[in-house]
Amino acid sequence: MKRRLNLSAAVIGLLMFMFCWQVLTWLIRQPIMPSPLLVLPLFFKSIFGELGLHFLASTGRVLAAIAVSVITAVPVGLGLGQSPRLDRIFAPLIAIVYPIPKIVFLPVIYILMGITDVSKVFLIALIIFFQILVVVRDEAANLQAELILSVRSLGAGRRALFRYVYFPASLPAVLTALRVSVGTAIAVLFIAEQSLTTYGLGYYIVVETYQVLRYPEMYTGIMAMSVLGLVLYFVIYSLEHRFCRYQDQNGA
């Protein structure tokens, strides 16, 4: 996180990636490893067509899951962080549930909620929820009592404390947790989208292309999913830098 990424590094990284891919194509020489020179033009052609729809469907699900998890986890985390008594009650439960890979609940969630968009979003939100809950709780608990007192002495009640202290205090941690968990979220999305849906990159990659041996098209789907992960990662990364400049300064 301390090493900032700039444009030239991104371009160089991308070129190296394409080169390695091309070398693999030369070495393997099978239909499962088409050349990037074939896949790239296909990607740019189809991203404005059907592939684009799959991309939008997946993006929508991830964004919805992020929204749901942030909206629910932040208040709960703040509540636990501010109340040591509540925290003592729930800490053991959270400690047990936190490390469970939530994907194992997929069948349970499907049966209880049906195989719908709601259940897919719920599963992803569940994963991000615990990541955010834990960091927000710890941030709120670590705020100095004197800081809270002095802001309260300025007239701040509960609402102003949230606006001027708790929210900005936990924002960096929320963004870091999101950035770290977005990869897992997309991996789970890939699995969740394979069943009973018509749009979504997971469905496109597995059902529409892989199972009918359209390998170059399958790679355009893989690229779209990678782009989704990359873009989300760097959007969150740049938000972190925008809102958390003071940390760079303090660390200097």
Binding site: Q144, E146, L147, L149, S150, V151, R152, S153, L154, G155, A156, G157, R159, A160, R163, Y164, V165, P168, A169, P172, C244, R245, Y246, Q249, N250, A252
Partner: protein, 259 residues
């Protein structure tokens, strides 16, 4: 200005710090509060600031009981209470931003003072300038010296135009020139702007410089206040003189007798 009637207070499960404690503070007074650590000096300020609930009795400021922080009471703490993610200017503006956040509701902000954003900015800039922080207004607290942080905290409080200033160990951990400069500033505010000042300290010299009246608190519970009249307050350049030393010696003796 402040009337403390029959104040009783204890932290839960502990012996009371104050028991039926009475004290009157006149407007424009300058008080020092001194005592050993753990005697309840800071608690005393928090009670005045409306940050702790009394068990019984009442604290009246201008006749109104203190049940929550009062908009025109300014509190400055030892470790400054600045927001690490906000610049010096944003920190200094925090009190006024909170007032605007609630509007002039008379509860969180004074009912009679509506302050536009421009006015608030002007006032904050005025105090930052006056405290020598204007050049640093876009820095974050993490980059400031302790003295600069304390100036920012004082600017934040003064921007709210308080009539009562509560200071909790405001000069500890400051170097001597900075301390003397800030002592000077607070004394001037007290005299020229008629702001009532109550300063909590464990430092005998600071207590003698800052308080025309000195309240000595003891460990265990406080019932009768021990008050020392002090003629040496505000004498910055006479720290080496006999009168000042005698006053310090007397205060030391009083504290020794209380212990």
């Amino acid at each position: 200005m402040i009337a403390i009637n029959n104040l009783t207070f204890a932290y839960s499960g502990q012996e009371p710090i104050f028991k039926a404690f009475n004290l009157t503070v006149d407007r424009g007074d300058a008080w020092s509060v001194i005592g050993p650590s753990g005697c309840g000096k800071s608690t005393f300020l928090y009670l005045l600031a409306g940050l702790r609930r009394l068990m019984s009795g009442a604290i009246l400021i201008d006749g109104a009981p203190i049940l929550r922080p009062r908009p025109r009471t300014g509190l400055v703490l030892q470790d400054h209470g600045l927001l690490p993610w906000a610049t010096v200017r944003e920190n200094a503006r925090l009190g006024l931003s909170i007032w605007n956040f609630y509007g002039a509701d008379g509860k969180h902000a004074p009912a009679d003072k509506k302050l536009g954003a421009d006015k608030a900015d002007q006032r904050v800039d005025y105090w930052l300038e006056k405290l020598g922080m204007a050049a640093l207004k876009n820095e974050y607290p993490g980059r400031l010296s302790r003295g600069q942080r304390q100036r920012t905290a004082i600017a934040r409080t003064l921007a709210m135009e308080p009539d009562l200033l509560l200071l909790d160990e405001p000069f500890s951990a400051l170097d001597a020139p900075t301390r003397e400069e800030l002592e000077n500033l607070i004394t001037r505010l007290n005299r020229e702007a008629n702001i009532t000042c109550i300063i909590v300290t464990h430092d005998i010299e600071v207590a003698v410089v800052m308080g025309r009246k000195i309240l000595a608190l003891r460990e265990g519970f406080n019932h009768e206040p021990f008050i020392l009249e002090n003629a040496c307050a505000g004498i910055f350049d006479k720290r080496n003189q006999t009168a000042f030393h005698n006053q310090c010696a007397e205060l030391r003796k009083t504290l020794g007798a209380l212990a």
